[in-house]
């Protein structure tokens, strides 16, 4: 029987919301890791019961958690450790170790990047923002971290190794943090080409690798950012999120700090598709599971006022790949709403009637089981939502 599992990361723990295919009656499980910031929770496409979670704390640092039973039990992955949910040797340790690779064989020297005041600042690991499990190997997962770098595990999270070619790109010294830190927040894997990866960094921009992550090139041509000295610079753009449809991996959709953008050549060039949006500032962007030209954004008034225009929470849908947008409001608050929706907090399921999900900084998680036409709150009072992912289970 088909089921839906929504993985929600919040400021105070992780929550797992489950439903049958009707998506009307939901069970709420959590908080897992109560009191910890859970930046991201994501399941493996190969083994949906294998789920990775990024658990962080300003006091106690970074912890990687893994479940092998769909989120019922968790453990820090370690070679030879007891399986999650069983008794035995304690687990953990190296699974939380993210060290920039400065080795002669595979690494790059640990240089500096630009700091808020324009001075140079050493790369420092802060936390894992995003976990992207491999499309074909349940033991492999990518991690996007702050300060911006890409890591990979090939042993189920027991240890992580930096793909240093990204941080070591010649433009690295001019990368600078956005307001939330210099984070690598988006990782996209091309399902048709295992050697092609995309990532995005606030606020360096978008990057692409065509050799499995060893070498990277900035893909920011066509972006225009008034807030940087050279608005069309090769890097320095505050990309908030990129999305692709698995059947058209050369078409990318981007929500930038300002502007919604589109590329049809794998990121080599971009054009603006903001069209009639009430604001083209926002964070998440998503693509319908079955309609590659149907996309969703949630406009936010501005970078100074991180709440929806007019206090109305509206998802905007374009069925034409951008430019022409319609407001989706049924079931969403249309007055006195001043929440934000963060970059990793929108996702879609793959049921025939595609479901759209998003979480807010006010603790609501909304679902639409009809591609956005109508919405309902699954939960209303969680801690501020940092991330939402959806698993469509057979």
């Amino acid at each position: 029987m088909t089921a839906i599992r929504v993985l929600v990361g919040t400021r105070k723990g992780a929550f797992i919301l489950t439903s049958d295919a009707g998506r009307k009656k939901w069970a709420v499980d959590g908080p897992h890791f109560a009191g910890w910031e859970i930046y991201h929770v994501k399941g493996s496409p190969v083994n949906p019961d294998r789920i990775f979670a990024s658990q962080t704390s300003s006091w106690f640092g970074q912890v990687i958690q893994r479940s092998d039973d769909g989120g019922r039990t968790w453990a820090q992955p370690a070679p030879g450790a007891a399986a999650p949910g069983t008794t035995g040797a304690p687990s953990g340790g190296d699974s939380n170790l993210f060290v920039f690779d400065t080795s002669a064989a595979t690494g790059k020297p640990l240089t500096t990047h630009q700091w808020y005041d324009g001075t140079q600042h050493p790369w420092e690991f802060a936390r894992v923002w995003h976990l992207e499990p491999s499309l074909d190997d349940a033991d492999t997962c990518y991690a996007g971290v702050e300060d911006a770098a890409l890591f990979r595990t090939t042993n189920g999270g027991a240890s992580w190794h930096e793909l240093a070619g990204l941080r070591g790109h010649a433009t690295g010294p001019v990368w600078a943090p956005g307001a939330g830190g210099m984070c690598l927040h988006t990782i996209l894997l091309d399902p048709t080409n295992p050697r092609r990866l995309f990532c995005a960094i606030s606020s360096a921009g978008a990057f692409r690798s065509d050799d499995g992550g060893q070498r990277w090139k900035p893909i920011n041509r066509g972006l225009h950012s008034e807030y940087i000295p050279d608005p069309t610079a090769e890097v320095g753009h505050c990309v908030h999120r990129i999305a692709i449809h698995p059947t058209r991996p050369n078409t990318l959709f981007m929500q930038k700090h300002w502007d919604v953008m589109r590329s049809d050549d794998g990121g080599d060039s971009w054009r603006e598709i903001s069209g009639n949006l009430p604001s083209d500032f926002g964070f998440p962007i998503a693509v319908h599971a079955h309609e590659p030209e149907t996309i969703y954004v949630i406009p936010i008034l501005s970078d100074s006022l991180h709440y929806p225009p007019e206090g109305k929470l509206r998802v905007y849908r374009s069925r034409s790949g951008g430019e022409d947008w319609e407001a989706l409001t049924s079931g969403l608050p249309q007055e006195h709403c001043y929440v934000n929706v963060l970059r990793d907090a929108m996702a879609v399921d793959t049921l025939d009637t595609c479901g759209i999900y998003f979480g807010t900084t006010g603790g609501q998680v909304y679902v639409s089981s009809d591609s956005g036409d109508t919405w309902e709150a699954i939960v209303r009072d969680l801690p501020a939502v940092l991330s939402v992912e959806v698993q469509t289970l057979p």
Binding site: G35, G61, Q62
Partner: protein, 98 residues
């Protein structure tokens, strides 16, 4: 045995009680107690002091016999009352935030 009191979030992370005991060979210092603690609970590595550098994390405080020993060198010998188990070494998450 050395008594160590952990902050709430590290108790839940390690799956242990608020107070744990560790054995230390040689001088009883913050460093040697943390070595023993991390050997017993590997999941705590990196949560109290940084991986590799072993520098204390910025928002962690240590109290031995009710004295703040956070800023003493990690190889400073702790009071006899801690070494003999009469008093615990308290590891505290600094009070900050809102």
């Amino acid at each position: 045995m050395i008594r160590v009191i952990l902050p709430f979030h590290l108790q839940t992370l390690a799956g242990c009680e608020r107070e744990v005991t560790v054995a230390v060979d040689g001088a009883v210092t913050v460093g040697s107690v943390l070595d023993a603690l991390e050997a017993l609970y590997p999941m705590l590595r990196g949560t109290i002091r940084e991986h590799l550098s072993l520098r204390n994390r910025p928002r962690i405080r240590f109290f031995a016999d009710n004295k703040d020993v956070t800023h003493t060198a990690p190889d400073t010998v702790l009071p006899d009352s801690v070494a003999c188990g009469e008093q615990p070494l308290r590891i505290v998450g600094a009070v900050s935030g809102g």
